[in-house]
């Protein structure tokens, strides 16, 4: 007769958890990714070659890294619109300051790290201590950072850094067993993903989720909310910087490099089931979603969708991928209690 279950310390069986997980938006993205990958292999069998596939993965690394950075910020309840501006600034910095002098690589990279720290800190402090909504604060810093970058370069920077520096985005390790060719960028990506997974299981990561869920409670629990969120912004700025280093290697200096990345990243993170407003979502789902988007774009190229239609297809996919599960979920949602209200 008793229907309430008393508290048990046991977890549900792994399989049941996986099954349930796949039905959440964060899980469904893996299914979508799998489908897209099948499509990709069908249209371009040459990608079935591990080396080719690793190259493919490698060139998606920058956007995946950016999505990773954006994940930290979104999960903590904020949003970072400054990523593209940071990428542009860092790319220009690398191009202009390193130039053809390999001995300058280390000091310039340190300078880039410093810039990331400053911008991340600024974003964080503005949103937390000065309570400027992150949408506005990061939009503002983006305007400032890119304004200064383009002012300093007259509007159209050019000039690539020395080839040895670009190796990280272009080169790789050849003749690796199984894989054949492993681009350095995939290694960077793998390391960052593992770090992110570890970080999210550490107290910092758990508290970041808690902040996104209820910042007041987190503050009263003795956490320093401003510093948690600010660290998320700093991580995001560092992610942009690493993406910039890979990008300047891969593609070279250009005023448009990285443009629009933050929107793809935000889309990916949300597609990965991370809730705008924070408190929910798995980092791997966000990465998977970013990868799925990249696979989709390539697939469109392979299928031969007219290039001007590509943004439209992208828009449709985003809306369908988000809308269909939502249509299914809203019926269940409306049964649950008030959805987590924003903490005002």
């Amino acid at each position: 007769m008793t229907t309430t279950t008393r508290f048990t310390t046991e977890r549900r069986p792994l399989l049941a958890r996986v099954g349930r997980g796949l039905r959440t938006p964060g899980g469904a993205i893996f299914v979508l990714l799998a489908i897209l990958l099948v499509g990709l292999f069908l249209y371009n069998p040459s990608l079935g070659d591990p080396g080719q596939f690793m190259r493919f993965l490698g060139r998606t690394a920058p956007i995946l890294i950016v999505a990773l950075g954006q994940y930290f910020v979104i999960v903590s309840g904020e949003i970072d619109l400054s990523m593209a501006a940071i990428i542009a600034a860092q790319v220009v910095l690398a191009g202009n300051l390193i130039g053809q002098d390999a001995s300058r690589i280390l000091p310039v990279v340190l300078l880039m790290a410093l810039l990331a720290l400053v911008v991340g800190l600024l974003n964080g402090v503005l949103t937390t201590l000065f309570r400027v909504p992150s949408f506005i604060a990061t939009l503002g810093t983006a305007l400032v950072v890119s304004g200064i970058t383009f002012y300093a370069t007259g509007g159209a920077p050019s000039g690539n850094p020395v080839d040895s520096f670009r190796e990280i985005g272009r080169g790789g390790i050849d003749k690796v067993p199984v894989f054949g060719f492993v681009p350095y960028s995939t290694i960077v990506l793998a390391v960052l993903v593992v770090l992110a997974l570890v970080l999210m299981r550490r107290p910092f990561g758990r508290m970041l989720l808690a902040v996104g869920d209820n910042a007041r409670m987190t503050a009263l629990a003795g956490a320093s909310v401003w510093w948690l969120r600010t660290r998320a912004f700093i991580l995001s700025a560092f992610a942009s910087t690493i993406a910039a280093i890979v990008l300047v290697g891969y593609a070279g200096v250009s005023p448009v490099v990285g443009q629009g990345y933050q929107f793809i990243a935000i889309t990916a993170v949300i597609l990965g089931g991370v809730v705008l407003g924070g408190g929910r979502g798995w980092v791997l789902s966000a990465i998977a979603a970013a990868f799925a988007l990249e696979v989709l774009f390539s697939l469109l190229d392979f299928i031969g969708v007219q290039s001007t239609w590509r943004p439209a297809v992208q828009g449709v996919i985003i809306l369908v991928a988000l809308g269909v599960p939502l249509l299914r979920f809203t019926r269940r949602r409306s049964q649950t209690l008030r959805s987590n209200r924003p903490n005002k």
């Binding site: 000065f130 506005i136 949300i270 828009g315 809308g323 939502l326």
Partner: protein, 333 residues
Amino acid sequence: MNGRTAAVRRTLGSTTATVYAIFVVVAIAGAILAATAGSAFFTEGNLESLLTATTVLGLVAIGQTLVVLLGSLDLSVPFVVSLSSVLAAGVMLGSADNLVAGILTAVVASTLIGLVNGLLVGLVKINGFIATLGIGLIVSGYLFTNYQGSTGQASPQLVAFGGLTLGFVPVTTILMFACLAIVMVLLTRTRTGMHVFAVGGDPEVARMSGVRNAVPVIVAHALSGLFAGLAGLVVVARLGVGSPQVGSQGGYDLLSIAAVVLGGAVLAGGRGSLWGSLGGILIFATIDSILGILQVNPYLKDVVRGVIIIVAVAVYARRSVPRRPARFGGGAR
């Protein structure tokens, strides 16, 4: 009575008042700076330019204000502006007879796109940021596939209308104010308008109180589309042709959101005002105008804009800290 004085006090101390205070400061500073540069700020010519610059962004921002009040966003506006411009110019083809058809096509198409945004946000419950981003991408795909550069030709009446001024005030600016007034009535004197605030404030509370949340969401988004469409028509009137890029060139998405926030609206929804948004736009336009007169590098303009947005919003945030009334004086230990 008590309520009224309280209301007055609230208005005076409100964010909107701060917005206009900032505007006045900026304008005066601008006049002084312009004078030191050997130019005048308050010339009819410059004021006309300034008002013209307010009009298109102003129309877009009216819609954006509605949507932000609701707790959503509209990132599709630049593409709707462009779409409206190419449709209108494409239908008119420079002929006086096609004026009405052109206007209708543009307005209906824009409103429909807003409506689709509204349906996605209000019924399917996709986050406004994503829904309007997606629709914006779809519209941009349509535009870039079907239009290569400027297209069509505005009908002569429309061009004449675009150039009409009353003194130094462009008639299109007056049109923008008329729209502002209508939306003001909508927000304060109709149920749907009041429900925009309610749904933006707390959708769950609104629902529990018997509000059909989808209605204000759909109406606000549809209106945002409509006003973006009108902005597109003003663009056609000014340029004489339609352009598939003109909306994205103007950066109307982020700029209108920034203006609305600069006007004191809260992105989470429920708080903000049309007057505030107008003030936000005036501030932007004034700064642009001053920096233009001073021949400041356009990239430094962005820097100034960025700083102004951040500082202004930080000031509002400071002011709106809810404080419990203190019972005892301070006195450090």
